[in-house]
């Protein structure tokens, strides 16, 4: 959206940028292909192939492990490893499961045993892997088989009948399932990005300069530390949710999200406005949080070089630069901003409005959708 003044009242020029996300929901081809992409029904169905086979492999794998573990009485090594992790609470665990029901009475015994066995087995796998590698490596090819088991640790095998019942619709369903968990998309994996130097540190995240092997370009990696109990921080969920909708040249683009055990990393478009120093912000080096060794030294450049579109707007670059001054003393305040030549096209009446009166009460001021197509 942008706000213009009706031509009939003054010589209209594009003015304030009260932007609304609605018109900027540009269908980004890239995101569609990501697998992490916008999950509209259509997109999900587009991404076909291979999920049922994957599921079947998983089932096969599960049944293999059952097989191995159920005959484990004769196999000392498996017996030990299978039994230890759930030794302490298996009975209790059975009791706890009861309230959920959902498992046919007759088969309950068999299943609970299996389930527990698998669970114990998995715990072992998880532990071993964590000691060997970071979480991201769970998706490496050589251990992918094991990762599959880990992905659904507590799920007991489905009854045969259920599998059969699902078969008629399987063609339809498999495709969706494949895309649902990202499929084989290269995105969303930490291997795709190389972390370079640190750019800055905030209260809940650290930003690194990074390099994307997928797109061969420099990106900014915002690494959010995860709290044990909290799961994904609510700030991160909101940030990602909103940024997913905001695809606009003037808003930094969220390329990808990498979620590992310890961290959540947002991959952003890389934009550097310059590192604050004594020459453009006197006194900054004496501020308590100023740690020059943690910041790269970047020369400030004109904003128009990063956002060429600013040149399309009369006084656009000047206005943006004035608002984004590093030194608070030189930064343009709201009152002064209203008098900036950027707003020259607006009727003078706007400046005299009381604070609590809407600008739309001035005759001729309307909101128009801005038809914006290209993402830079």
């Amino acid at each position: 959206m942008y706000c213009t003044v009706d031509k009939s009242h003054t010589s209209g020029a594009p003015a304030t940028q009260a932007r609304n996300a609605k018109d900027d929901m540009v269908d980004d081809e890239e995101w569609k292909n990501l697998g992490v992409g916008l999950p509209s029904g259509v997109t999900m169905r587009e991404k076909k192939s291979g999920a049922l086979s994957r599921m079947q492999k998983l089932k096969k794998r599960l049944s293999h492990s059952f097989g191995r573990l159920t005959v484990s009485k004769e196999d000392p090594e498996d017996h030990v490893s299978g039994k230890l992790p759930y030794n302490g609470y298996s009975d209790e665990f059975l009791d706890r499961l009861e309230p959920n029901g959902n498992i046919p009475e007759g088969k309950a015994d068999l299943k609970y045993t299996d389930w527990n066995t698998v669970r114990g087995h998995n715990n072992r796998v998880v532990k071993r892997q964590l000691s060997v590698s970071s979480d991201s490596k769970l998706l490496d090819d050589d251990i992918r088989e094991e990762a599959r088991v880990i992905l659904r640790p507590r799920k007991p095998p489905r009854p045969k009948s259920e599998v059969l019942l699902n078969n008629p619709g399987s063609e339809h369903r498999r495709t969706k399932r494949f895309s649902a968990f990202g499929g084989d998309s290269p995105f969303g994996k930490s291997e795709a990005y190389i972390k370079l130097e640190q750019l800055g540190e905030g209260s809940y995240a650290t930003v690194y300069k990074g390099y994307s092997n997928l797109k061969n370009q420099v990106v900014a990696l915002k690494e959010i530390r995860l709290q044990e109990e909290e799961g994904a921080p609510f700030t991160a969920i909101r940030e990602a949710s909103l940024l997913k909708e905001l695809k606009h040249a003037n808003i930094v683009t969220l390329h990808d999200i990498v979620h590992t055990r310890e961290t959540l990393t947002f991959v952003f478009e890389y934009v550097v406005l310059g590192t604050p120093g004594e020459e453009d912000w006197p006194g900054v080096t004496t501020l308590p949080g100023y740690k020059p060794h943690k910041l790269g030294q970047y020369r400030p450049r004109k904003l128009g070089l990063y956002w060429p579109r600013l040149h399309d707007v009369v006084q656009g670059e000047a206005m943006a630069t004035a608002l984004l001054q590093l030194d608070p003393a030189h930064r343009l305040g709201a009152d002064d901003a209203m008098c900036h030549p950027y707003f020259n096209g607006l009727p003078k009446k706007l400046l005299e409005l009381p604070d609590d009166v809407s600008i739309f009460s001035v005759e001729g001021v309307h909101l128009y959708p801005e038809h914006y197509t290209a993402i830079k």
Binding site: N20, M55, E229, G231, K244
Partner: protein, 185 residues
């Protein structure tokens, strides 16, 4: 401890009808109609077409939805959280095979994420597990959360049905607080 819980309960009391501090801002906003239009553009997000939820899952689904209604009350969440949760829950059921003994965990986890997205009044995974009588562990909830975040691509921006209702009440021009409450009952 206990005092902390009480505080959370009190703070969210006004949110019960979706007309708490934050949402009320938008009703008074001069952009109300713009917001409404925008909400309408994502109206069908995550809505599963009729019949897409497996037939044999319907019974369990009903039990879980019933349970989620209670959970919403216990967690003191606005109705929007419940509606969004059920909507997203269905879209998971429609898209993947979920074993029936995972339904409760799935519903709970989705509700947790939606809660975190919608307001500042949410509990930790451990507390959540305790609310379920420790049938599930916090670790399970966290693991499933991770999968759900990937499944939905971190996109939890779903229109709030209560917002539609309140919008039309405002458009009716009857300025009565009672009407809001009446509608929700």
């Amino acid at each position: 401890g206990i005092p902390k819980v009480k505080k959370t309960l009190q703070r969210s009391e006004g949110n019960r009808f979706g007309i708490g501090e934050f949402p009320s801002d938008r009703y008074g906003s001069e952009y109300l109609e713009e917001i409404m239009l925008h909400e309408l553009t994502k109206d069908w997000k995550y809505v599963s077409p009729k019949g897409s939820v497996p037939y044999n899952a319907m019974n369990t689904r009903a039990i879980i939805v019933n349970w989620l209604i209670q959970a919403q009350e216990v967690l003191n969440q606005p109705p929007a959280v419940l509606f969004t949760t059920v909507r997203m829950f269905d879209s998971v059921l429609a898209a993947t095979d979920v074993s029936q003994n995972m339904y409760q965990l799935l519903g709970l986890t989705i509700m947790w994420i939606v809660t975190k997205y919608e307001n500042n009044n949410f509990v930790t995974a451990k507390k959540l597990a305790r609310l379920c009588n420790n049938v599930y562990t916090a670790d399970q909830i966290l693991k499933l959360e991770k999968k759900m975040l990937a499944f939905f691509g971190f996109d939890f921006n779903v229109p709030d049905i209560i917002f539609y209702v309140n919008f039309y009440i405002i458009k009716l021009g009857i300025p009565s607080e009672l009407l809001h409450i009446a509608v929700h009952y």
